[in-house]
Symmetry: C2
Subunit: 140 residues, 2 copies
């Protein structure tokens, strides 16, 4: 049973968007034929889309690896005072959806990425979400 839509951290006060980190797994999609892994293309696409503007405060970085290999390509979105989300079943065209997810997470007063308005790919591709580990007061 999913309870994914239920906010369960203390609400942040209203304020500016919080910085969000997008980690793109660059070991995903290695095909062993000398071509760069497909995760690298997703990372490049995310950076290009971010450079084109509009995605808010976001840091984009590669990671080796998210260990979500069964559902590659993979990426994670998180913010220090909020939840972290791992997504799978992505492809090279997912950059825009990831940036939209980053925007939603950055703007969320409660630190949770809202379900409503979330790109469909970030609903179906949700692998796991993790609350802020510290401080523990943010958990029930």
């Amino acid at each position: 049973m999913t309870d994914e839509t239920t906010p369960d951290v203390s609400a942040r006060g209203p304020g500016a968007a919080a910085p969000v980190t997008l980690l793109v797994c660059v070991t995903c999609g290695a095909e062993g034929d000398g071509k760069p892994p497909r995760g690298e293309a997703l990372l490049a696409a995310a950076r290009a889309a971010d450079a084109a503007g509009g995605s808010g405060p976001i840091e984009i970085a590669p990671v080796r690896c998210l260990a979500n290999c069964k559902r590659a390509l993979s990426a994670a979105l998180g913010r220090a005072d909020g939840w972290t989300y791992v997504f799978g079943d992505l492809d090279g065209a997912s950059a825009g959806d990831l940036l939209e997810g980053a925007r939603l997470l950055a703007a969320a007063e409660d630190g949770l990425m809202p379900w409503r308005g979330r790109p469909e790919r970030l609903k179906r591709g949700l692998v796991a979400r993790i609350p802020p580990l510290f401080p523990s007061k943010d958990r029930p």
Copy 2:
């Protein structure tokens, strides 16, 4: 392709074990028959095993939910200066393995749970791992 065995954060200096948080999903395993979700039993077992001693500095807390419903029961292990691990396909007998994973993660100088010596259930049940989001210097 997994690169899960490759350390890729800056090494911590030698020192005492770092505090680890174990989050057990207590929405997992709800059977709708008035019984508590099976995740609650796993949480209770983890607390009992920790109280029996030997697991090192660990905080154990419930979470609603990790959104890993397809592979319930679920739990996450993380430390603030290290990686966070999400596990699925757990059952009520997994508490000891989770505490052993916590011990390994707490003792890891590089903030990564070592593959060698990791309980089999935490190898097969690995759903995803996420590096420390901040500071970004910890990433390649």
